[in-house]
Assembly symmetry: C2
Homo-oligomer: 335 residues x 2
């Protein structure tokens, strides 16, 4: 079930279309010095179904400490208010002592965090930051937009999840019209590369056309958006009839529907397959949306679904290729 394989790596690989996988596609259209996406690109994502928090400047009207609930309440210009726990604010202090700005990483050690901290004073500064004075005289200043993006309301968190994880999915059956993209255009044009990645993320499969019928296209495509992952079959491999085949894929026999590398702890996510020479007869590729099928099974035969989710079966892969290998794993069929 190819989709389930895809899914397992797609989540980290294509997050927000600014992951390691996608960043290269976007780099050319970044403003110098920006390592994050430009707002233009974020809007681009929104048109593709990501409901990220609007980028408009937010302003704080009033702010007050609710000592009983140990929350800071922020009332926004234009209506609405947000609540932020004392402990969360202290834990997320953005000052140079608590946060390494160049890495956008915390420096504040958990050991130095008083999870029961009170709060001495909170106010809105002239430059529209929320400034907090802590009992230990440490001060934190939070940018209004930074706070708004981290609002704990259910709606804001849902929107944030959408923005960060591009949750839009299209599960499909035989009605699917496989999305297509032009290989050369994806290599050349950042917008085309982004659209390709977003379609891959959403549907799980994209048919690229127009690659030269020679080896190397797969590596070029991967380099375009990230890097190839080395396995014991090497960086790339040739799916062709081989003597003493160490894999059923290396024979002329029928290759049924399957999930690749189930014996691996980390199954491949996105796989690039390049048809260099089509067989005169046979050789068609078959794909199934494992999520769609699993959902059908769950509805039509819940007990079978539970069995496939709970019973661990043995997977093994053994042979010699890039190196010799003998892998063994125990996994349920539906994860």
């Amino acid at each position: 079930m190819w989709m389930s394989t895809f899914w397992r790596l797609a989540r980290p690989a294509l997050q927000r279309s600014t992951s390691a996988a996608a960043c290269r596609a976007l780099r050319a259209c970044r403003r110098p010095g920006r390592s994050g996406p430009t707002s233009m690109q974020l809007r681009g994502q929104q048109t593709l179904g990501s409901a990220c928090v609007p980028l408009a400047q937010h302003s704080v009207r009033t702010v007050r400490a609710l000592d009983e609930e140990r929350m800071v309440e922020v009332e926004w210009e234009g209506g609405g208010h947000s609540l932020y726990p004392f402990t969360w604010l202290r834990d997320n202090c953005q000052c140079p002592l608590c946060t390494l700005d160049s890495a956008q990483a915390r420096k504040l050690s958990m050991l130095d965090l008083d999870v029961h901290t009170g709060l001495d004073a909170v106010e809105v500064t002239n430059d529209n930051k929320v400034s907090v004075l802590w009992p230990d005289r440490h001060t934190s200043a939070f940018d209004a937009d930074w706070l708004k993006r981290r609002c704990f309301s259910a709606a804001a968190r849902r929107a944030s999840r959408e923005e960060l994880f591009l949750n839009q999915r299209h599960y499909w059956d035989s009605e699917l019209r496989v999305p297509t993209a032009d290989f050369q255009e994806v290599l050349r044009d950042d917008r085309a590369a982004l659209d390709w990645l977003l379609a891959l993320r959403r549907v799980g499969v994209v048919h690229l056309t127009g690659a030269a019928t020679e080896r190397g296209a797969v590596a070029r495509l991967a380099e375009r958006v990230g890097y190839l992952r080395l396995t014991f079959y090497g960086h790339t491999w040739q799916v062709q009839d081989k003597p003493m085949a160490n894999n059923v894929a290396y024979t002329s026999g029928k290759l049924g529907l399957h999930t690749d590398y189930p014996a691996m702890h980390f199954a491949p996510g996105v796989q690039f397959l390049h048809c260099i020479s089509a067989a005169e007869e046979g050789g068609e590729s078959e794909m199934v949306d494992g999520f769609h099928m699993a959902e059908l099974l769950r509805r039509e035969d819940p007990e079978a679904f539970r069995t496939l989710c709970s019973v661990h079966v043995d997977f093994t892969d053994t042979g010699t290729d890039y190196c010799d290998f003998m892998l063994q794993s125990k996994k349920s069929i539906i994860e």
Copy 2:
């Protein structure tokens, strides 16, 4: 919590000490043409705590079909019997039509498997195989040792799991005396390499001494037993004070206990750290057995344990290194 990081990749990486990671260490002492471990090596594993099924030849005394239960009962010379379901036997037929011997992989399509198959006849052949005649006139012959190793009794399955997954673990606290190995010996001697891998598997950390104080040792060690995994920090990276550090590890500040790469879907398993130049002051490495601590917490504060197992927190890693990256994940602290 380094151990938890280790654990996540250690399982596939060190299975049976004949995985891609370990196979190279073993290759030199293999007999030509053998891609599996030699029995000598298996015994070697047993002395290191793997209770694999004895390798002695097994003989079948009698065999009969239990049509009611749809099981084949094998009675062994030397006592004991095993039960094998009809469907399982048909599904695992080892004949060239059903199994690709060179890949040790199934060729029989699920579509062609009658899960409700009966059985026309079962007998012990002169060469001590269990031969089955199926209603469709297909025949299967199962080697006695092959069957014995796949006995479904709880004890046999426990032994098989031990052999396949080397489950022996040592969880530790500050009393731990970190296992040590000699870097040069591990490179030179296969037995030393295997012992190193087994200790790494069992304890999660091994201190290697005697590497030259220059770059390249990490890569040599990895090449010895497998291959390095590429990340957006590159194949290897230098943990040193850097201007505009994209990671807290690249500063002279204190680096608290942490799990590496939590923002990645696939956290690193085994990490090789080579101290080339020790700081005159500070710079000590700290490690904690995350499994030991999690177990302590589970006992001493079950509610806190449940919280850390169930609440998903955001992890993010952003910056520029081997490529520019922006990763985001939601995971529980204890997985």
